[in-house]
């Protein structure tokens, strides 16, 4: 099966046929165009609240919401908020604790194989989907392995891109591992730099960002870096400290994720929020959770992560 066959398979997952909605819109518009004196068509566009620029089809926002929900991550039904037994720590204190814990971690060489079991769920358009995957990748994420049809396949990242997300990157990681050393250490400068990189890479900001776009973009960029790489401890520490420096970020006081007592960082969206969840004891990254305007939700939980001797080796 070549790439064209795979594309056909992807297309064929969509049923062939025109929807009643499209047919109605077309017929109404056709009638209008033949009768200039007729009142404006009662199109979906004009009926929807918050209709935007005339001529621009609706849907882009709702698609973005759905995508955002699928991309961003979160809360499995089994997860729940832990009753608040103690007040939330200030965000800077949580950032300092997570940074200190990161500094206690051993350094890992870039070629070290890492096993990850990830659980994902997304809810959009009133349907909820869950999936999980086992993935092996090197710590620098340049090589990846997974089972497909019972066989282990190895895949290599495009090495041509010079730092910013390249055209063949598997995931929207905003910065290549090789370029991590170029990041400034000071939290404020680091946030500004990550916001700039995220915007340039086109990873975009979440739908409904309630703070500044730069804040949301930096928050997402840090989330992507922490979930994609096993980074040098000093850099991991700097990223956590940067989280505490992003305007609008607050502490998630307590949440149970896969049986782990967790806490985390939250940035508000209009009608939702994004959360970067860490284990409350070890402060290691556990999940990214998102709830979006319109009810979309998404979750990515790293259920298990361990250093292993090679691809296909389970801990």
């Amino acid at each position: 099966m070549n790439e064209m066959d795979l594309l056909s398979r992807l297309r064929d997952a969509v049923p062939l046929g025109v929807s009643p909605g499209a047919e109605h819109l077309f017929r109404t518009a056709l009638l209008d165009s033949q009768d200039p004196g007729r009142a404006a068509a009662p199109s979906r566009r004009s009926r929807r609240p918050g209709a935007r620029v005339p001529g621009r089809p609706v849907g882009a926002v709702s698609v973005a919401v759905a995508v955002g929900a699928a991309v961003a991550v979160v809360v499995q039904p089994a997860h729940g908020r832990v009753p608040a037994g103690h007040p939330a720590a200030p965000v800077t204190l949580l950032a300092d604790r997570a940074a200190a814990a990161a500094l206690d971690q051993p350094s890992v060489r870039p070629g070290q194989w890492v096993y990850r079991e990830t659980e994902m769920s997304g809810q959009a358009n009133k349907s909820e989907k869950q999936s999980s995957e086992e993935l092996w990748s090197t710590a620098d994420d340049t090589t990846e392995a997974s089972y497909y049809d019972g066989k282990l396949g190895l895949y290599y990242r495009d090495r041509d891109n010079n730092g910013v997300m390249g055209p063949l990157d598997f995931y929207p990681v905003p910065l290549s591992y090789r370029s991590l050393g170029s990041l400034p250490a000071r939290p404020g400068a680091l946030v500004a730099r990550l916001a700039e990189i995220g915007a340039r890479a086109g990873t975009g900001e979440p739908v409904g960002c309630a703070q500044s776009t730069a804040s949301c973009t930096a928050f997402l960029a840090i989330s992507e870096l922490l979930s994609s790489y096993v980074m040098p401890p000093a850099l991991t520490a700097e990223l956590y400290q940067a989280l505490g420096d992003i305007p609008g970020v607050s502490v998630v006081p307590g949440v149970d994720v896969d049986g782990q007592a967790c806490t985390g960082f939250r940035i508000p969206l209009t009608g939702g929020d994004l959360e970067l969840i860490v284990n409350a004891a070890t402060y290691q990254y556990v999940a990214t959770l998102g709830s979006f305007p319109g009810g979309g939700r998404g979750t990515v939980v790293v259920a298990r992560q361990a250093l292993v001797s090679g691809p296909g080796v389970r801990p």
Partner: protein, 200 residues
């Protein structure tokens, strides 16, 4: 007389004849809609998701209707014309399209098909290959992606894709070659079934 013409057009006339008829009998344009709207809708849904599709499909055929006087009647098949219009409209949704591919690449959950099926295992079985494919699509230059998908998802020939995009056939061949090459590299050096055993 006119009714007979419509009946004839309905059954076997080429698209160009239908368009010609619609210049005098606008309602005949519905024949073109019934013939092609289903395929255009699937193409839009696959590229942008179901939410945007209804509006874009209707807008495509309305634009075509308004431009029917300029249609080259020497072209019997109207598909390249219609796909050219819808491709231009999709152009204003590039960001949404790319976000969709990235969503699939990131989570393995297809935001397009999830509204058509409740089978979680369908999304899961899509697995790494579909994720990489989606990621590669997201990373393609827009012109290359348009070319590739007009052929792979629109079922257009090279010549028809060239007509749809308003570029020479050689440009289509070149773009397609580059796009396929990128996809192959992303999928594991041309062979999605590439395995560790093969490597040995």
């Amino acid at each position: 007389m006119m009714r007979q013409s419509r009946a004839s057009a309905e059954t076997g006339a080429a698209d160009a004849e239908v368009i010609q008829l619609s210049r005098h009998e606008p309602e005949a344009f519905e024949i073109l809609f019934r013939r092609h709207a289903g395929h255009i809708q699937r193409y839009v849904v696959r590229r942008l998701g179901p939410d945007a599709a209804d509006d874009l499909v209707a807008e495509t055929f309305l634009l075509a209707f308004r431009q029917r006087d300029r249609y080259d009647l020497a072209r019997a098949d109207a598909r390249p014309w219609l796909y050219g219009i819808v491709t231009n409209l999709i152009g204003s949704h590039r960001r949404a399209e790319v976000r969709q591919y990235r969503a699939l690449a990131r989570t393995g959950i297809d935001p397009v098909t999830e509204s058509f099926t409740d089978r979680v295992d369908a999304a899961v079985s899509a697995g790494a290959t579909s994720k990489r494919l989606a990621a590669a699509l997201a990373g393609l230059p827009a012109a290359h992606r348009d070319t590739l998908l007009l052929i792979a998802w629109g079922d257009l020939s090279y010549e028809e894709a060239a007509t749809a995009l308003g570029v020479p056939v050689g440009t289509v061949r070149s773009r397609l070659s580059r796009a396929r090459s990128r996809l192959r590299r992303t999928l594991g050096d041309a062979d999605p079934s590439f395995t560790k055993e093969n490597q040995a």
